[in-house]
Symmetry: C2
């Protein structure tokens, strides 16, 4: 067992999944959870998400040799402040945030005397809250660990072992590069999805009811990630601003080029792009990063 | 039975699904299929997609009281020319194309003495070809019929009955309005998906292998529709240019506004949009237009 006691701060989709996954896969590790919302704590007790649910972050972190912050990235600093008084000297402080550079800095500034090893399991669903978690969320998914310069390798390896234990494959990466990669594989897709769903809601010549009825033509795919937690995603865009803007400008440039191709009826440019994009889908299926059944395996009954 | 013999011209995902669905649900109707590609015809015979597979469009259409053109919208005029010599005087000519105004015009010009009643079943998967079809594709999906002005109501109703028989719910709509609605619920989503997958493939600071590995953060959702048939989609954008450009410009305006919100760190504007968009997802699930399980019901094993 890499750890004896893991504290989970924040019991939404990710925190609750960590709790359930530890029980399922690493049952010798004791878990203690905390959430700032009393209703969430009550629900977590009812659902048995952790061995214990504490009444303060400080108590949850007490004696833990691994503390995982599972709060929106904008709440990381405050969560780090709250656990500080309870921390053991040797505890590893980690997190599951979707952006890493600013989070790492916030944690290092708040807890300068502790071992900070940020991480990001690239896994989730559009649902949120303590009832959304499940033990197999991390199976076959990547967990990216972004150790600060000079981090103790043995301790990084302990954290990597923990995530492997939950079913993930671990990759070590620089925080800045992580933020660039995730801007394109996660943040921009969410921003696009939120925006097109907003555009479709606001039309005058097409009603909202029509948008819903005929969504099976493709639009419904975007509504899934546009149903994700608003606080979490606001924080991601505020915390990964530079990489998101850089990727956004490339996307806007490419979209402008496709707009021009349509306007000038340049079928060849369209055909070229539409043919190239199949290769990426094939790679994703070959590497088991998506359900290979047609239509994501949606039921057609 | 609304019809005695249905000819299916084009045996890709849609044509093969119509063939299988007729056998499953309306088995008294005889089906005769044709595809311009000899390999597809051979595969269609092997799979038993229709009662008969003809060696020419003209032969397939012979004696049919309903002919459904299931070819890319850019190939509709040619398909109509090919069936012309075989058509019975009373045959209804329909199609399954994703854009309707230009297709209607092409069919009316090519077959001025016949009854043209265009239709669009809003259903599909990202797969294509004769092996991609299945009998339940149209279950619970909308089929939009766009009769020309002055169409015979009894004949429109016969076509509606046919689609209801395959499991669809039918809506009658003006072709121009159809093209506006589908621009937002289907065409723009496909264009966005193709474009972001292209953008991600062309980056220098993030490798294609990284894009694939970390696609579970949201990007993989877009790769599904970006794996759709390139010819079909090129034709859609060429044939629904005006509505697509209009919707595209609204989306580009909204995306620019979100870009500005990120740049100026306007968390409130983001939170507002990200909260509003959940309602549309809820509507889609309530109306059975998507799989209500988290993550589209993808397997997490």
């Amino acid at each position: 067992m890499p750890f004896r006691k893991v504290a989970i701060i924040g019991l939404g989709l990710l925190g609750s999944s960590v709790g359930l996954a530890v029980r399922e896969h690493l049952s010798d590790i004791k878990t203690c959870g905390y959430d700032a919302d009393a209703d969430v704590r009550a629900k977590a007790r009812e659902l048995g998400l952790c061995d214990d649910i504490a009444e303060s972050a400080e108590t949850a972190a007490h004696d833990a040799d691994l503390v995982i912050l599972c709060v929106p990235v904008g709440a990381m600093r405050k969560a780090a402040e709250a656990i500080a008084p309870g921390l053991s000297e040797n505890a590893i402080i980690s997190d599951v945030g979707s952006s890493k550079e600013r989070v790492s800095r916030a944690l290092a500034e708040t807890l300068p005397d502790h071992t900070i090893i940020p991480a990001h399991p690239v896994a989730g669903t559009e649902q949120s809250g303590p009832e959304a978690g499940f033990a197999s969320l991390f199976h076959g998914r990547w967990c990216i660990i972004t150790p600060p310069v000079g981090a103790d390798e043995a301790r990084v390896e302990k954290l990597a072992d923990f995530w492997r234990g939950l079913g993930s494959t671990v990759e070590i990466m620089d925080a800045g590069h992580h933020d660039m990669v995730l801007a394109v594989t996660s943040h921009i897709p969410h921003l696009i999805a939120y925006t097109i769903v907003g555009t479709a809601s606001d039309l005058e010549d097409v009603t909202r009811s029509e948008v819903i009825k005929y969504s099976a033509g493709g639009f419904r795919d975007f509504t899934r990630i546009a149903a994700s937690d608003p606080t979490m995603w606001r924080d991601v865009f505020l915390h990964n601003k530079d990489a998101v803007l850089e990727m956004m400008d490339r996307f806007l440039g490419d979209l402008g080029a496709m707009r021009d191709a349509i306007e000038s009826e340049d079928g060849e440019a369209m055909f070229d792009l539409f043919s190239r994009t199949r290769a990426i889908r094939r790679g994703i299926l070959e590497q088991g990063q998506d359900d290979a059944r047609p239509d994501f395996g949606r039921e057609h009954t």
